[in-house]
Structures are given as structure tokens and as C-alpha cells.
């Protein structure tokens, strides 16, 4: 620690002594490091793949055509299905990431349907109360489907060829009572490899979805991870922007004072009176929502508080003797602001940082929750919360999302408080 000046060392020690803040910082850093791993941890491309003796690394290579892997399809294979296939025909092996789903991937959970002792149809969750069982073609489309009510075929059964329904039958009390067209001679007895689809949101534990899926069929773990990555990315853009504007303008206002200060202050007062949420809703109706635009809007409304604080600090500092002295020595405005004013505002900068981050996480989630945020295909915690509101029964959406959001907020706040403690001069003198 010898390369740091003693005051900094002291502050760092004080920060470490706040256990909550210190551990929060370590946890957040660790999580961010994990988030940087991205598709190595959460994704639907294998880390390593060996087919017919050729080894490849799809997670780094990106898109690989099925044809290059000796498959019959042009597009990218579904690697999870490919893994099973390779296991069966012994042509190779592959290693998937720990969470083998991409945040943007839509998963259909289709467990096998079976009959219980009384002949009622059931899936891993129990007797099917109202749903469908079906057989699949080799391309994954449905061939024949039956409506099941209370475990028995009731109502519609349909036969598809190339996706078009060509015949249907009506079941009543387990028997076919009507055929359309009347001349239809399909065998309507459910047989073959029958599956049922668990509607999204699907509860945890099926098909390798540790925390289930959301309304659109996305894996919740992958969604939470993707949402965290987006928050990190936003923070990396948002914080430098807000601080660049807030610091420079605040410092300039405090330092120069006079009419410049006057005009800027009035402009800021006007600007800060625009209700943030209304402005967002208004802009969202004019512009196509994207992360860049959202961050731009958030920056536009977030720099004011910081600038005000900086202005006050700079005002105070610019009256100090050492500023006057360096001015007398002929230093320019830029040099004085850069060398004297800003370094002395470091306390403010550092201590407000976590709270700006907190505000960002909150605002982004709130906007997504209200539906004015990112497109619904992008992973976001706010969107998950919104889904939880519409699906109260789906605790696996609400619980983990709330845990992540509250956890992150608490950690950020603890860091903020620890920093304030560390930089508090009155405490330092004790």
C-alpha cells in the first residue's frame, strides 16, 4: 500500500471495516466477473464439440452450419438435441455450458405423456386437467393432436399434414362422435410416442430449467443472467456519461460563477421540473425504444443532481487560498479546474457513485416493468417482474427476480454507505 498516500490508505481501511459494504463489493465484483464470461456460462452453443473426430469450439466460432457438422440441415443445429443424437449414434460428444440455454432462446417443454392405471393421460406434473397430447413429425411439427380434459380425450382431435389441419374428430365420453370430413377414416386412438406441452411459464425442474421458464418460454436463469449483463453494460455507458456532464458543468458553474452560473442554474431548474416518467412515455411514443436511447434519456435526466452538488463544492473550493495562489501564478481556468477543483471533489464523486448506479438499476427495471423499456425479446428484470404481476401463480418468476433485484440494490447501497463512512471527515478525526 506504500504507493498510495496515507489518507487513501486510511479511507480504504475504514471502508474494509464496514463488513457489509466490503462483502457487497466483493460479491458484486465476483458477479460482474462471472457476467463477463457470458456464453461460457449461460448459452446454447457448446464449449467444445467433437463430431467424427473433428473438434470445434462453437461458443467462440459463433454460427456453424449444420452441413459443416455433417448434418442434413443448413441452419444452426439445436445442440441440446444434437448431444442426445451423438450419444446414440456414437459419432462424437459435446460439452454444453452449465446453463445450456441462451437468454433469447424460446424453449418448449414437451414431456412425454403416459397413462395411469385407470387409463387417464398424465404428464410429470400429474393428470392433465385441460390440455393437449400429440405426436410429432421428424421436423418437430405436430402430426396428430388430442384435446384432453380430466385425463381423457374430450372435444377436438386433429390431424395435420404439412401444418394444415386435414381432418378432425370430436370426442365425447372418450368416444369419437363426429368426424370432419364425414368420410374421414383416421384412427383416432391415441398411440405412438405421445407428448404434451407444458404451457409457458413452465414450473422449475422440467427439461433442465432449474428455475422454470417465463411467459415467452425463456429459461429464467438465462434471463436473470442476461438481464444482469444488460444492467452492467448500461452502467458502463451511463456512469461515465452522467459524470462527464455533471462534473464538468458543475465544476464550471461553481468556479466561474456570475452570469454563467446564473443562466445554467435557471436552465437546470426548468429542466428538472420536467416529470421524468412523462417525458419517457412521451419520447417512447416518438422513438423506437432501444438500450442506447433509454440510456440517453436516463443520462439526460440524471446529471442535474450531480451537477448541483459539484457546483456547491466547486464554489467553496474556488474561494480557497491555494486556488487564488495558483491563479496568481498564472494558471489557466482548465488547469485550475483539473488540478485543484476536481481532485478536491473526489469525495462527492465516489460517494455518489453507488447511488447513481442504484438509480440506474431502479429506473431501467421500472421502465421495463411499465412496458416503456427494451423490446420484450431483450432480457430484463423489470420485464420479469411485470410478467410476475400477470402470473401470480408463477412464483418461480417473482421469487428469483425479486431476490436478484433486491439483493443487487441492497449490495449497491451498502457499498455506498460504506464509502460515505470511509470518506466522512468527522469520523476520520475521531
Amino acid at each position: 500500500m506504500s504507493f498510495l498516500d496515507p489518507i487513501t490508505v486510511q479511507r480504504f481501511d475504514r471502508f474494509r471495516r464496514n463488513r457489509m459494504g466490503w462483502w457487497s463489493l466483493l460479491t458484486l465484483l465476483a458477479l460482474s466477473a462471472l457476467a463477463l464470461l457470458g456464453p461460457l456460462l449461460v448459452g446454447n452453443r457448446p464449449l467444445m464439440l467433437n463430431v467424427d473426430g473433428v473438434t470445434r469450439f462453437p461458443v467462440f466460432e459463433g454460427f456453424i452450419s449444420g452441413r459443416d457438422l455433417g448434418l442434413k440441415i443448413e441452419g444452426e443445429p439445436n445442440y441440446r438435441l444434437l448431444a442426445e443424437e451423438l450419444k446414440q449414434n456414437g459419432r462424437g460428444w459435446l460439452i454444453m455450458p452449465p446453463v445450456p440455454f441462451a437468454p433469447g432462446e424460446v424453449c418448449e417443454v414437451m414431456p412425454e405423456a403416459s397413462r395411469d392405471a385407470e387409463g387417464r393421460w398424465q404428464d410429470p406434473r400429474g393428470i392433465i386437467s385441460e390440455g393437449r397430447i400429440f405426436t410429432l413429425n421428424t421436423d418437430g411439427t405436430r402430426r396428430q393432436a388430442w384435446t384432453i380434459i380430466n385425463g381423457r380425450p374430450e372435444g377436438d382431435a386433429r390431424l395435420f399434414v404439412e401444418g394444415v389441419g386435414i381432418a378432425r374428430a370430436k370426442f365425447a365420453n372418450g368416444k369419437v362422435v363426429q368426424r370432419v370430413p364425414a368420410a374421414d377414416s383416421t384412427d383416432w386412438e391415441p398411440q405412438g410416442s405421445l407428448r404434451t406441452q407444458v404451457p409457458s411459464p413452465c414450473p422449475p425442474g422440467l427439461d433442465g430449467h432449474w428455475l422454470g421458464t417465463d411467459e415467452s418460454g425463456h429459461d429464467i436463469v438465462a434471463r436473470l443472467f442476461g438481464g444482469f449483463r444488460i444492467l452492467l453494460l448500461s452502467a458502463l455507458i451511463f456512469l461515465p456519461c452522467v459524470y462527464a456532464i455533471g462534473l464538468l458543468l458543475g465544476a464550471a458553474m461553481g468556479y466561474f460563477g456570475g452570469w454563467f452560473d446564473m443562466v445554467c442554474q435557471r436552465l437546470m431548474e426548468i429542466w428538472s421540473n420536467i416529470p421524468f416518467l412523462y417525458a419517457i412515455i412521451f419520447l417512447a411514443s416518438l422513438l423506437e425504444p432501444s438500450l442506447a436511447i433509454l440510456i440517453f434519456i436516463l443520462v439526460a435526466f440524471s446529471w442535474i443532481g450531480l451537477a448541483q452538488q459539484l457546483r456547491a463544492a466547486a464554489y467553496q473550493i474556488s474561494a480557497r487560498d491555494y486556488v487564488t495562489a495558483s491563479r496568481a501564478l498564472g494558471a489557466g481556468h482548465a488547469r485550475i479546474i483539473w488540478r485543484h477543483i476536481l481532485p478536491n471533489c473526489a469525495t462527492i464523486i465516489l460517494t455518489t457513485l453507488p447511488f447513481s448506479l442504484h438509480g440506474l438499476v431502479f429506473s431501467l427495471s421500472a421502465l421495463d416493468y411499465l412496458g416503456f423499456g427494451l423490446p420484450p425479446t431483450e432480457p430484463s428484470w423489470g420485464n420479469l417482474l411485470q410478467q410476475a404481476k400477470e402470473n401470480w401463480d408463477a412464483w418461480w418468476i417473482l421469487g428469483p427476480t425479486l431476490f436478484c433485484l433486491v439483493g443487487t440494490m441492497v449490495m449497491i447501497n451498502s457499498i455506498g454507505e460504506a464509502l460515505q463512512d470511509a470518506f466522512d471527515l468527522r469520523r476520520a478525526q475521531k
Binding site: E74, G104, F134, R142, V164, P199, S285, E288, G371, P375
Partner: protein
């Protein structure tokens, strides 16, 4: 109730005299070519009068009048005016469109013409003029008799600049030839030109209550903003009926004219219909489950299937009902803007048809309850070409079509590119409704075919503006369809696709319904011929040819169709045998159900006490199912 009776009493008293608008009279005199006045003796002698009496009644004679139907609305209407600014709001259907009658109506099961405000009718030999005898007992909801003058007034009112209703002004000018009054209850209406289904079109005319419009003038918009315009239907909004942001109450007319008429009796049975404001659909659903709302559409899978676990259903108080109707299907699907780069290439469009997996959406999101839409014009009966099928999802066929368009290289992200390095990437626009939840499915399926859909969800009015400005690439959209006659001029004719600027340049024509920008001479020619055709055989042949051509142009990716409606209702709401009529889009449209208020009290008490009434009930009525 006392105030209500007093109000009705006052109305009945004033109905003795009817009002003559001098400005309207002057207008009629000024437009002698349109407004004719004749005598009964002027009526042609050889007319063959018809009255539709051979058609069967469709209402249930067991229906009992009375009770209050509790419904909900997202918000109260900004105005009670029928036309002018803000009048085209979400509540207009309940106030006017479902609650008003024209001269003739169509039998909801057979589609044959039945009498409405006219009791009998006749066509002239040349097929250009229709004669109507009006029901002398028919009255507006304010008690004023409906006479020939009220039909004249419709033209005066709607054409007036004071009404601020451009669409209606145009409609009431171009789509009608002339109107003749023979006496207070006999009129004739002439068509503007030869066209098919003349009688049905001329029979669409609705009367306007000229007595109510005493103060009609330049300040109509403000003066009439909160006044309910009397209709010919069974319900009206009383002076206290609109409570802003709280509720709208419709009151039944006592002794309505329809109660004595075949086809209209035993209908519109509740005495009061109360729409409380509930902003969120989920809250409304919860209210319905608590018995505070009597019946509610539960189309969304999460409501339909979710009801299975609810007490009210399990204990046998609440019935789930699915009714299959047979109506023209709104073309839900993706509209490709063919005037955008890449999308102007037919092969690209065909490729997109194969790359968009609506079947997966139907199987997954809609749990197999909806059906794939075959084509743009579906459910038009004999006017629908039955052999057209949507192109199925297939990465192989999609890639083959894209290869034909020159997209053969694959980028590192798996998206196809052509020799010039252009990527197959399109903006896909959705509204912010529940449908946005399956955007991810479409995006992901397309990616497997080498296409990138860049999703965007816009608030509804923003989306509407963007599409009307023709700024979209691909948009999820649907038109409402009200008639079985294909109306393709609006959506597919060259007239609505391009606009020639003064300097000779062609640009997309804005603010038209041709949102795919299709500009195809062959199709336009077919549409023109269809619009002039009068023989049914020829019309069928032409409409099949048009539909085939649209399919070949591949500008519309058929999505899904909803084969009927699904509701949940408490058992004190009674439905007729057969549940509803073939043409019904929702139970309120033909008003065939009735209430049992006494049962409501008993049921609600028992339900709240936790008693079990019986086994869960699900009604599926598929008499009118089409496929």
C-alpha cells in the same frame, strides 16, 4: 328510479310534436337532384313487396326481461357524440354500433334479408331503387317516432361541416343516389351506380333523430359532447348515465318498439347494463371471479385455462363457454412493406413466408386453440378460394427461396447475405398488447432460416402512425372485416399504393390502407373488374382470382384466426338453446341472453359461504364451426 321515470314521462309528453329544421329544409330545397318529395300515388304500381316473414326467429321465447347486467370498461368514453372528434373511441360499439338499427337487417343465421325499421321493401325493375315501408310504431329511445324526415336528416347532418366527420360526409355523398319521401312512412332510395348487393347496401341507411338535433350548428362538437344521441335500439344513456372515469349505465327503453316485432322480441333483456371502470384486465378478471361482473370474454389462454383452478368454476357457479361462430375472419398476420428494399423482391417475401413460424405460436402460446389463417380473405363464404393454404414453416424452403434472391452467404451470426453484403434483416413491429410475448418465438424461428427480425414494440397509436406513414418494414396487424364481400381496393389496389409527384417521381402513398404497398397491375385490374361486377358467378370467379394473386404476391404472411369467442359467465346469466347465433362476435351483439336476479342473490350467498353447487361446467357449442 323515480328521476328516471320522470325523465321518461317528460319525453313521452314532448313526443307529440316533431321538429322541423329550417336549415335542413333549405338544404333539401337547394339539392333538388338528391332530395325528392312525392305522393303515395307516385309509387310504381308493379312493385313486388317482400317482408322476410319466411325467415325463422332466432331469439329464445323463454327469455325474461329484467335485471342489471354488470360489465366493465377500461375507461369511460371521452364523448357521447356519435361522430366528430374522439367519437371513434372504444366505447362506440356499446353505445351505438350494437345498439342501432337500419332499414333492413341480415338474418344472423341464414344471412337473408330481414326487416328492421322497414317492415317491407321492394326493388325497382332496373335494380337501382329500393322502396321501403317504415314501421309506424318504431320510435327513437327518446320517444320520438321515426319518420321519413329522419332519414333525410341523416344526409343533411352527416354532410354538414359542423359534424366534423369527413369519412361520413364522403360516404353519405358518394354512396347514395337520391332519396324520395312518399309519405311519413314510405320512402325510396336510389343507388349512385350499378353495383352488387344493391338492396343490402341501400337498406343500411339509419335515421338520425332530427328532434334531438334542434341545436345543431357550428358548436355541435362542444354542445353535444356529453349528450347521448337517441338511437333506434333498446338502450339509452340517461342524463346521469355517464359518470366520468367511474361508470357508464345503459338503460332499457320501457316498451321498446322491437318488443312487438318478429326478430326483435325476446332480445336485449337486461333492464340496465352497467359498465364500471376497471383499468386492468387482470383486475376485471378477479372481479368476475368474485361475482361482481356477470360475464366476461376470456379469450386469452391464461384466463381460459386459469379458470379451471378457480373456486367459482370448481364449485359449479361459473360456466366456461366456447362458441364457434362463422364470420369473416380478420386477417391477423405480418404485413410486408413491398416498397422497402429487399422486401420488394418476391423471392425474399416467399422466403419470409417459410421463415415465419405462426404454427409454433399457435401450438405454444395459444395452446393449439387458434387455427392457422389460410389467406388474406378468409371466412367470406363462397367468395373465399378454398384451396389456398399458407406456406408452411420450413428452414429448407426458406433458404431455397432466399438463395433464388441471391442470398447465399452466411455471416458469422448466421444471417444470410447477398453478394453486395446486404443482410437479410428487417424491423418487425408489434403493438404492446399481450401478443408481444410471442415475438421472441417468431424472431428465433426466423433466425434458424437465416433471417434477422429486429423486434420493436410500439404503443398502439404510435404504431398506427408509423404504419400509415408507410415507414414500417414488417408489421403485425389485422383489419376488421364486416362483410363477406372481399374489399380489396383499400388494401391492395395501385390507387392506394403509390402517388405520383409533380416531377413524375413515384412515392409510397401515405394514409391509405394499402400497408403492404402492393402495386400490381394484374391485381388492380381484377379489383377494378370486381368492383363493377354485378353477376354473382363472375364475382366469385374474380374474387378467387384476386385471392390467388395475393397469395402469389406473398405480401401478407397469414397468422391465425380465432374460431369463435370464449366467455366465462355466472349461472344467473341464461343463454338460449344453441347459445348464440352464427354471426355473433360476442354475446352482447345480438343480445339473446337474459338474467335471473333472484338466482344471483342466492348463488352469490352460497358461493361466499363456500358451498359446492355441482360439478364444473364447460359448454362448447360448435354448431356453426366451419373447419
Amino acid at each position: 328510479m323515480r328521476t328516471l321515470l320522470a325523465f321518461l314521462f317528460v319525453l313521452t309528453n314532448t313526443s307529440a310534436q316533431t321538429y322541423e329544421d329550417p336549415k335542413a329544409a333549405a338544404y333539401y330545397a337547394e339539392h333538388k337532384e338528391f332530395f325528392h318529395f312525392g305522393k303515395l300515388t307516385d309509387l310504381p304500381k308493379d312493385l313486388v313487396w317482400q317482408d322476410g316473414s319466411e325467415q325463422k326467429e332466432f331469439a329464445d321465447p323463454r327469455a325474461v326481461r329484467g335485471g342489471t347486467l354488470r360489465q366493465f370498461t377500461g375507461s369511460t368514453p371521452p364523448t357521447l357524440r356519435r361522430v366528430g372528434p374522439n367519437a371513434n373511441n372504444g366505447f362506440r360499439g356499446e353505445l351505438y354500433d350494437n345498439n342501432d338499427f337500419s332499414l333492413l337487417s341480415s338474418h344472423p343465421n341464414t344471412e337473408e334479408t330481414i326487416p328492421a325499421l322497414a317492415t317491407s321493401w321492394a326493388m325497382s325493375a332496373d335494380g337501382m331503387t329500393a322502396y321501403f315501408r317504415l314501421d309506424p310504431n318504431a320510435k327513437f329511445t327518446d320517444g320520438q317516432p321515426i319518420t321519413a324526415d329522419d332519414y333525410f336528416y341523416t344526409f343533411y347532418f352527416n354532410r354538414s361541416p359542423w359534424a366534423k366527420a369527413d369519412w361520413y360526409a364522403d360516404f353519405y355523398t358518394r354512396e347514395w343516389g337520391s332519396i324520395t319521401k312518399y309519405d311519413a312512412y314510405t320512402i325510396a332510395i336510389k343507388a349512385p351506380r350499378k353495383r352488387p348487393y344493391q338492396l343490402e347496401r341501400l337498406g343500411q341507411l339509419i335515421p338520425l333523430p332530427r328532434n334531438f338535433f334542434k341545436d345543431f350548428g357550428p358548436n355541435y362538437e362542444k354542445l353535444y359532447n356529453d349528450r347521448f344521441q337517441p338511437t333506434t335500439g333498446a338502450y339509452f344513456v340517461g342524463p346521469t348515465g355517464l359518470q366520468r372515469e367511474k361508470s357508464v349505465t345503459l338503460t332499457r327503453v320501457q316498451d321498446w318498439w322491437g318488443d312487438h316485432r318478429k326478430f326483435y322480441r325476446h332480445r336485449y333483456n337486461p333492464d340496465i347494463i352497467e359498465y364500471g371502470v376497471i383499468r386492468e384486465m387482470d383486475s376485471a378478471y378477479a372481479s368476475m371471479l368474485a361475482g361482481e361482473i356477470d360475464l366476461m370474454p376470456i379469450m386469452m389462454p391464461r384466463y381460459w385455462y386459469g379458470t379451471n383452478e378457480k373456486k367459482a368454476y370448481q364449485n359449479g357457479y361459473l360456466t366456461k363457454a366456447q362458441f364457434f361462430n362463422d364470420i369473416p375472419r380478420p386477417p391477423y398476420g405480418l404485413y410486408l412493406n413491398t416498397q422497402k428494399p429487399l422486401l420488394s423482391d418476391l423471392d425474399v417475401r416467399v422466403g419470409l413466408q417459410h421463415a415465419t413460424d405462426f404454427q409454433r405460436v399457435i401450438d405454444g402460446f395459444y395452446r393449439g386453440d387458434y387455427e392457422r389463417l389460410n389467406q388474406f380473405s378468409e371466412g367470406l363464404g363462397k367468395f373465399t378460394e378454398p384451396s389456398i393454404r399458407p406456406r408452411r414453416y420450413s428452414p429448407e424452403l426458406a433458404r431455397a427461396a432466399f438463395a433464388k434472391a441471391g442470398f447465399t452467404r452466411v455471416g458469422n451470426d448466421g444471417i444470410l447475405m447477398n453478394a453486395a453484403g446486404e443482410r437479410l434483416s428487417f424491423r418487425l413491429t408489434f403493438d404492446t398488447s399481450d401478443r408481444r410475448k410471442y415475438l421472441a418465438t417468431l424472431v428465433e424461428s426466423a433466425r434458424r432460416c437465416g433471417v434477422e427480425y429486429r423486434p420493436e414494440t410500439l404503443e398502439r397509436t404510435t404504431m398506427y402512425r408509423k404504419v400509415m406513414e408507410k415507414n414500417h418494414d414488417i408489421v403485425f396487424w389485422a383489419w376488421s372485416v364486416s362483410s363477406r364481400l372481399p374489399a380489396l381496393w383499400e388494401s391492395h389496389h395501385t390507387d392506394n399504393a403509390v402517388e405520383k409527384l409533380a416531377d413524375g417521381r413515384k412515392v409510397p402513398k401515405r394514409q391509405t390502407n394499402n400497408i403492404t404497398g402492393v402495386d400490381d397491375p394484374e391485381l388492380s385490374k381484377l379489383i377494378d373488374r370486381f368492383r363493377e361486377a354485378t353477376e354473382e358467378d363472375e364475382m366469385i370467379k374474380l374474387s378467387h382470382a384476386m385471392e390467388r394473386r395475393i397469395h402469389d404476391l406473398a405480401d401478407f404472411i397469414p397468422g391465425f384466426k380465432v374460431p369463435g369467442y370464449r366467455i366465462a359467465h355466472w349461472d344467473w346469466v341464461k343463454f338460449p338453446v344453441g347459445f348464440d347465433v352464427r354471426a355473433a362476435e360476442d354475446p352482447g351483439q345480438y343480445g339473446l341472453f337474459w338474467l335471473d336476479p333472484k338466482q344471483r342473490e342466492v348463488d352469490l350467498k352460497d358461493f361466499r359461504d363456500g358451498k359446492v353447487r355441482g360439478a364444473p361446467k364447460t359448454v362448447i357449442e360448435d354448431r356453426w364451426r366451419t373447419e
